[in-house]
Subunit: 209 residues, 2 copies
């Protein structure tokens, strides 16, 4: 499918067909698109939790203001952002660069120092905002790849932070759920699929200079 | 091209080939993917500025800490986030929904009220953060679509906010550049294209529950 057709077909599903599951293959490809996401400085300040068991999805329902997606989706993805980029984390990143690219850690020192300096200059609040934004690139990749796989989605910001973090057993001193995405297949009963997409027209959205 | 191959081929270009321009067709498709981006409540709190003239790109160089992409790219895209969601803006959105879907404005009142209430509850700082995050979904879509069009990219957060906002003649009481993306074709001289991609392995990135 042409990718613009896929994006046009996409909409935020309000009710999934609870009988249909996303296949392991499709899920693997969609998650691989998330893994390949670009991130600021390459630091990937996130992890991705995939709730797939019926029990776990059920448990998560109270964490959402609109539970209809959670109770019907095939998989619920939580993108968890790191609130703190410790020097140990940066160290592990550079060890991985060194191993992947077969270069010495020493040769990476200038890059490492510049990254550490940059992160050190940020306040806690700024680190949180910065990390959250990187999670939204992941969210974009997940929705785009899902559309190409003909899998439907609904991105959701409407969750109760403390409840979802607790259910997912996060260490809230270091991480929190940034945003969530339900995956599945649209229910025939979901009338929203028949509504025309509302987007700004080109002349209001774009300015060429 | 398979989309995972395209994402694997993508990297953040440090130097573009200044002789190669992105075609009008490819650019149109990439921008259409941005226009189709999902956004919270459908509010699309952004506009997209595309600098394509040599003069304008030249003028933008001092706004960036690393100018090598700006001086060699084909197009420089600035995603501009709205700092303020006025009731007039929400009104225009609902007029568009009403016209696009051929439904009365009155029938949309419950949705409109719930959106207005939600936005009113946010502090200015929270609106800015929320709008910025939506811009990163657009950024994700732009990079993904560009990769599918075989167009190279470099996302850039490293700009001087006051300088870029002034060059782009933004009304800083209402909007600011959230993030930028250079488009073009990788230069043969850019050694970064030969480096292996560094991404967390599945077992560190994903958790299935």
């Amino acid at each position: 499918m042409n990718y613009l057709d896929a994006l046009n077909k996409r909409y935020s599903v309000k009710k999934f067909d609870p009988e249909k599951s996303v296949s392991a293959d499709a899920l693997y490809h969609i998650l691989e698109a998330a893994r390949l996401s670009a991130s600021s400085l390459g630091l990937q300040p996130y992890k991705i939790i995939i709730a797939q068991s019926a029990d776990m999805k059920e448990k998560l329902i109270p964490a959402f203001y609109n539970p209809s997606q959670i109770s019907t989706c095939s998989h619920l993805i939580a993108i968890v952002s790191k609130n703190d980029i410790e020097s140990k984390y940066i160290g592990a990143y550079f060890t991985q660069i060194s191993e992947t690219r077969d270069v010495s850690l020493e040769s990476l020192n200038p890059f490492r120092e510049s990254i550490s300096k940059h992160i050190d200059r940020l306040s806690t609040e700024q680190v949180i905002t910065w990390a959250d934004k990187q999670c939204y690139i992941v969210l974009g990749n997940l929705m785009f790849a899902a559309a190409l796989e003909n899998v439907d989605t609904c991105p959701m910001e409407g969750f109760k932070q403390d409840i979802i973090d607790e259910i997912l057993d996060l260490d809230i001193t270091k991480e929190k759920v940034a945003v969530t995405l339900a995956l599945g297949y649209r229910s025939e009963e979901d009338d929203f699929q028949n509504l025309k997409k509302v987007r700004k027209p080109n002349e209001k959205l774009f300015k060429f200079i």
